[in-house]
Every structure is written in structure tokens, then in C-alpha cells.
Amino acid sequence: MQDSALVAQLQDEQTRNAAFETLLELYQKPLYWHIRKIVISHDDADDVLQNVFIKVFHHIQEFKGESKLFSWLYRIATNEALTHLRKESKKTQITPEVLKQQRVSSLQADVYFDGDEIQLKLQQAVAQLPEKQQLVFNMHYFDNLKYSEISEILNTTEGALKASYHHAVKKIESFLKER
């Protein structure tokens, strides 16, 4: 993996801007989809994605290469998305879990959702999971991330992640059978 070269370019004032465009080109799509699955609404995902890249731009000097750039970006995106969800829930005086369930319930009316009935039910099933299980399920099932990658992003052991994923799948299966 050669993300160290890109990081070096990002940390160099001379090459920073060009390297940042490369970074955007490479990572804006995967990070957008990751954020979107957490916040559900496109507008919120857009806000969060922009915040993520602006933070990355201003804090790239703090990246010491202790983890992969990919993991570092995912971690920032995850934190920003969860923080955004918490802020939004505070405004409406409900928990982030309830807020997310409400958003999923209104997906059918969302112009930026084109899923079929199964996809809608799957989103509803994911929304009723605890936060950590939602993250693990989304990253492993939808994004095909390896447990080792998720472990680096969420700072959790692979064993714990496998257990979380297993519980998540069981709950989703049972949710889908009931409906």
C-alpha cells in the first residue's frame, strides 16, 4: 500500500493542494456511502462529508502514519457522522437511535432513495440495532471491509467485532421474519 506517498504529498506545502484533489477523488465516494448509511439523509451526509474533508485538510500534519490513511479517514468520517446524529437528536429532544429509526421510516418518501421493499426492510432492521452493531454490520456487509480494517477504524478487537456482527445478523434475521 502506498498511501504513505500521498500523505507525504499532503503534508508538504508545495504539493498539498494537488495531493488533496487526489485524496478527494479517491475517497469521497467510499466515505460518502459510509456516512450516508449512518445519517440516512443525503443532505446530512453532504454536510458531514464536507466537514470530514475540511478537517482532514487542516489536521493532515497530525497524521503520523500509525494507522493506514484509509482507516484514519474512515475513523474521522464515523466520528463526524455519529456526532452529527447526536446533535440533530438533541435539537429534536429524542435519542439518536429514535432519530435514525424515524429517518428510515420516512425513506419511502425520500427522493434520494430508490430501494425496493427488501432494501427498505433491511435498513429498518439495521436501524433497530445498537450503534456499534450498526457500524460493524454496515462496514462488513455493505462495504466489504475486513475485520482487521474495521478493528483499526473502531479501535476494537477482531473477536469483539465478529461477535457484534454475529449478533447483528441474528437480530436482523429475526426482524425480517417477524415482518
Binding site: Q2, A5, D114, L145
Partner: protein
């Protein structure tokens, strides 16, 4: 700039075009970097379909928007007059604060006229000193000395006594 003519000389058709030195080596490195990263990222981005949609050209527009937000902001123009008024306000506030921080005794007017009756009334009613307090006062700072430090001769003393002592006083003494 040093130019690399190697490819031009080896090409079938010498067009005369040249490239910067090490251009192809750098280009390969650059492309390797980008394609390696791209493959890596795309390898993890083979998402299952979630049903979520995005507006047309969203990513391109978003890229432009983010880049525009990172441009350095125009320097702020500060008016010198604003600075003057700020300094003046701080100075005034400090002056006011100093005035109010002074002890109340400094605010007592110095030109108060105290009449004889006022002193008499004060001594009779307001002052509340015990005998001990009086003794302390008179024995120290307020020691009573009607003659001061003046030295009187025997004649002066005799004259004073003759003028001020009555017959009653003599009787009492004797």
C-alpha cells in the same frame, strides 16, 4: 531545463517534440501511486446496493465545493479609528474602575465647617469613652499642658495667681 530526447530519436517519426527529464519515470510512479490506491479503495467500495441515491453530478459538485472552502479567506481590513475607540473605551473603563475602587474616606469633603456647638454635642452625646479610654488618651497623644513648654518666672507666676485665683480658692487650699 534539461530535456530528454531519447524517445524522440527512437521513434519512427521524429516530430521534434521533447519531454522534461525523468518525465516518464515520474509519470509511472505517479500513475502507480494513483492506481494502487484506486484499486485498494475500490476493492473495499464494491458495495451491496443499499437503495440510496444521490443528486446528479453530486460528487463532482461536492469536490468543487470542498476545494472552494479550503481557499484562504481574504485578509480582514481593520480600521484604525476602531482601534482608537477601543483603546479609549478601555481607558475610560479603567479610570471609572479606579475611581470606584478608592476607599470611602477619600471621598469626604475636606472643607466641612465644624461649629463649636457640634463639638460640644458630639462630646456630650456621641462619644462614648470609658474612664480608661480617657486616661489613655490624656496620658499619651492628648496630654493636657495648658502652659505648653513655656518657662514662667516667679513674678509671672505670682501675677497669674493674683489675677486668676479668688479668695475662695485660697480658702479651699488652706
Amino acid at each position: 531545463m534539461k530535456l530528454n530526447r531519447q524517445h524522440n530519436t527512437s521513434s519512427k517519426q521524429d516530430s521534434g517534440f521533447v519531454v522534461p527529464e525523468n518525465y516518464f519515470a515520474d509519470f509511472s510512479k505517479k500513475m502507480l501511486l494513483r492506481t494502487d490506491l484506486k484499486n485498494y479503495v475500490e476493492g473495499y467500495s464494491k458495495k451491496r446496493n443499499t437503495g440510496f441515491e444521490i443528486p446528479e453530478n453530486y460528487f463532482e459538485n461536492n469536490r468543487i465545493e470542498i476545494l472552494s472552502k479550503l481557499e484562504p479567506a481574504a485578509p480582514k481590513v481593520r480600521k484604525l479609528t476602531a482601534r482608537f475607540w477601543r483603546v479609549a473605551a478601555i481607558f475610560t473603563a479603567l479610570l471609572g474602575l479606579t475611581y470606584f475602587m478608592k476607599t470611602p474616606t477619600t471621598n469626604i469633603p475636606t472643607e466641612v465647617v465644624v461649629g463649636e456647638t457640634d463639638i460640644k454635642n458630639y462630646l456630650e452625646t456621641d462619644i462614648n469613652l470609658s474612664e480608661f479610654d480617657w486616661e489613655q488618651l490624656l496620658s499619651s497623644d492628648f496630654a493636657f499642658d495648658p502652659f505648653g513648654s513655656a518657662e514662667l518666672s516667679g513674678d509671672e507666676m505670682a501675677q497669674y495667681l493674683a489675677e486668676n485665683l479668688s479668695a475662695y480658692d485660697y480658702d479651699e487650699e488652706n
